[in-house]
């Protein structure tokens, strides 16, 4: 066939902004900008038998690790406990945890899990101190945060 069309009809791009805006709004609503600045190092250990924690509202987070390079000249290199945005001593853990628990709606208080996000270089002594504090305030559901990985890296 010799006859060709004179003009290829152009695809209308008028609805492109709408599509993009839709995607944009989706990501804007899904994004949670992390507002807690990490004061301690937090490289989680690797494990394989993980169970997932969904339901963000039922979690109390406790971070433990060495102060980050930015703060290590002020705070030293001993592992510290970070609760929310501040560093605390071990004695204050129970007060913090109880106050966090009081903020939760009454119906879910007995479902609250404490997520222990502990740097892999921390010694177990401090961890067991924290566990004892949690036992004292009867918060018994805990979760050792870890990332999916290959445990054999510890062996080397």
């Amino acid at each position: 066939m010799r006859k060709t069309k004179k003009r290829i009809p152009s695809v209308s791009t008028a609805s492109l902004p709408d599509i993009v805006f839709m995607l944009l709004f989706f990501f804007m609503t899904v994004t949670t900008i992390k507002d807690t600045e990490m004061l301690v190092e937090n490289k989680l250990p690797e494990a394989t038998e993980l169970s997932e924690l969904d339901k963000k509202d039922r979690i109390i987070e406790i971070f433990v690790g060495k102060p980050t390079a930015k703060y290590s000249n002020v705070l030293g290199t001993e592992p510290k406990i970070q609760l929310n945005k501040k560093l605390f001593n071990i004695e204050d853990v129970r007060t913090y945890v109880l106050s966090e628990l009081a903020k939760k709606p009454e119906g879910i208080r007995n479902l609250v899990t404490v997520s222990l996000k502990i740097d892999e270089n921390v010694h177990v002594g401090l961890v067991s101190d924290i566990k004892k504090e949690l036992q004292d305030v009867n918060l018994l559901k805990i979760n050792y945060a870890a990332i999916q990985g290959n445990y054999t890296s510890v062996l080397d």
Binding site: V20, F27, A47, E49, S51, K55, V127, D136
Partner: protein, 201 residues
């Protein structure tokens, strides 16, 4: 003042570019975080009223020292052998009451899975990553056994059933069905993992 015929139209052609720019920014910054980890239940602080006598052969002791070395049942052991040793202990079934166990029925090891207790003891100086790895292996030993039984009974992995059961989005009809299955497999190999107080030497 002469009136204009109409407001001049704003060119909306660059709108897409602006939106794309924002979109790419959010795409890059978004990290959809899913928290995962090893679930544990701490024992309540009140000691039980009655002292339960547990026979030594029903306890599987795991000691970790500060250098990350393992002492399992008074013998030095590599981390990679721990899971197998724990499985062998759990399904030993010396008293013969456990008909699904495939253990060796060694009289010097555990009587049946519901009596078998794993006791974990560690030094204060133990590295946390070692501790988690050991916990992971012990939980893995239970999961392996439970998966095996769940496969046999329901042709499905236990861990898979459990996560579906715990997922709040699963419809309640399926959850009720799963509840019994999960409970049954859990009861076959109840997780009895006790942690002794850490020692400081």
């Amino acid at each position: 003042m002469p009136r204009r015929k109409g407001a001049p139209e704003v060119n909306a052609g660059s709108m897409a570019d602006i939106a794309f720019l924002l979109l790419i920014f959010f795409l890059v910054t978004t990290t959809i975080e899913t928290d995962a980890g090893l679930d544990r239940m701490l024992p309540p602080i009140e000691p039980p009223d009655t002292d339960v006598i547990i026979r030594q052969k029903n306890i599987f002791t795991v000691n970790i020292n500060k250098n990350g070395q393992l002492l399992v049942e008074d013998q030095l052991m590599d981390l990679k052998d721990l899971r197998e040793a724990a499985i062998a202990f759990l399904e030993n079934g010396a008293d013969g009451s456990c008909n699904y166990c495939k253990g060796r029925r060694d009289v010097s090891s555990s009587d049946n899975p519901s009596k078998a207790i794993i006791s974990l003891k560690n030094d204060r100086e133990t590295k946390y990553s070692t501790y988690i790895t050991v916990q992971n292996e012990l939980v893995g030993a239970y999961n392996d056994l439970r998966n095996r039984e769940a496969q046999r009974l329901y042709n499905r992995d236990f861990t898979d059933m459990e996560s579906e059961y715990l997922n709040p989005e699963t419809p309640s009809s399926i959850r009720d069905d799963l509840k019994d299955k999960v409970k049954r497999v859990q009861d076959m190999f109840p997780q009895k993992l006790s942690e002794a107080e850490t020692t400081s030497n």
